[in-house]
Symmetry: D2
Subunit: 156 residues, 4 copies
């Protein structure tokens, strides 16, 4: 087997950029059901935590995500990436940090960091890219008021 060049197989290797403040920060704990037999949180759970982060982010911007869907719009995930740096154990408290890296009427990119509660060590970082669609799943720009609200700086 010929190995692929690392740059191709792991294009994100060098891409860590600290989340620009202000970001939203929320606290979570690892559920027992989120662990696996290695004794740590399973890799798929991180994407649920990212989602919890962006849900709270939208709420903080006064745009509960359910209201976006109630108006006939959705932000579907088209890319998801996570870099795992440090294992998380059952019941361990940790912080989810979320920032909006890019926002246009048709596209949003959220950035995330997970950090330990105690000493803020980096557990994982990643991003999700979203495209705005209508109820039929067709690309459809978000209404301008939603885009403006999303772009406003996070209040402290």
């Amino acid at each position: 087997m010929k190995n692929s060049p690392s740059s191709a197989s792991s294009p994100n290797k060098e891409s860590y950029r600290p989340l620009p403040p202000p970001y939203l920060e929320i606290e979570e704990r690892v559920r027992y059901s989120e662990t696996d037999q290695m004794g740590v949180a399973h890799n798929k759970g991180y994407f649920e935590w990212f989602e919890i982060g962006r849900t709270e982010y939208c709420r903080k911007k006064q745009i509960p995500y359910k209201d976006i869907e109630a108006r006939g719009h959705a932000l579907v995930v088209v890319e998801a990436f996570c870099r795992y740096k440090k294992a998380l154990r059952y019941d361990e408290p940790f912080l989810i940090r979320v920032a909006l890296r890019e926002m246009t009427p048709k596209k949003a990119v959220f950035g995330y960091e997970l950090r330990t509660k105690d000493d803020l060590a980096l557990i994982a970082h990643g991003y999700t890219t979203h495209i705005a669609v209508n109820k039929k799943g067709e690309v459809c720009p978000l209404p301008e008021d939603l885009v403006e609200k999303m772009k406003r700086p996070l209040a402290d």
Copy 2:
């Protein structure tokens, strides 16, 4: 908010490379519990399917993953990426294709594609990067016989 350049926020945008044959192909169906209220498979499920793919890949290479763990080794996920191209509905049959993109004693990169069963349309593609560790979670090269077995071409 200043938008990040796309290249930074979505470094994987241009990275689709077809899986090099021979790849392993297995069939799955979307479980009801894997759908969300948008009526399609939720984004986190794709990482479970990737995992099912690499479990079967290891089995096909005569290295059931549980045997790797029984020998005191593990391949922990350090990166996971998925690009979503097409929604998957409840009960829809689809194909998981897996190939090993890179394999060294300390690192493995698996590549994946999901395709519709009917017309082989691309549903998603992605990769996971793994580091070899021992039971304490310390980086530790895989035994040579495992690496050799993993590198052998897939039998048809």
Copy 3:
């Protein structure tokens, strides 16, 4: 603390009744993501397996569950019960057996057994009770043709 009488707190203790043949039998394997840090399949996964069982049961009766929903009906879960007898490990193959214990236009009760593939040892048994509703979630009898199809004996 005064202990409750066992009969009240565990009303199902004595209720194991073997599944009456003919039942439908399908094979599954435990996914890595379905294990927890105790090293066995997590308790919530069994309810997903029950669901996979009834999906296949409906398909076998020529009533794919998605067709029931497409006709504006649904069978919502109103009760779920599982008795766990034996742990299941990662990658272990096992059998899901499903039978319809009760079927009226407004109500269905499915019974389940999980058994090891090798020696048919009982892993778990349980049931789910479902009420027929319309798209608004109101109780609404299933169309007669669906009830008749569901009641027909399973073909071999």
Copy 4:
């Protein structure tokens, strides 16, 4: 098909008994990933919420569940039951109430109620029965100090 008598197929039908105070109460919200295509929380999620409830219950009693495992003991689930009364929607806040219904060195039964945050309407109720085991999975009584702590009334 001959219908089973209801009493046999749904033995829990009449078993709702209000949770005796004092119970522990915690608040949660429905995650997007916990919904299904019916637009409501999927039935398996309730068992995760029950588990979150008992984790917090043990913590409140000064016996973090991870400490029980660290001492070589575990409380494995041998029965799980849920009665679903009212659907839960994405992002809906709700209350998990937990009480210990039975506690002996070899057995624990937790009771649960989920209620809406706004008007305390009953969403679901259920219980889980647990057997005390050692690391090999053999039945093994819990140390007396743990049993005593668990039996102490919940402080307000």
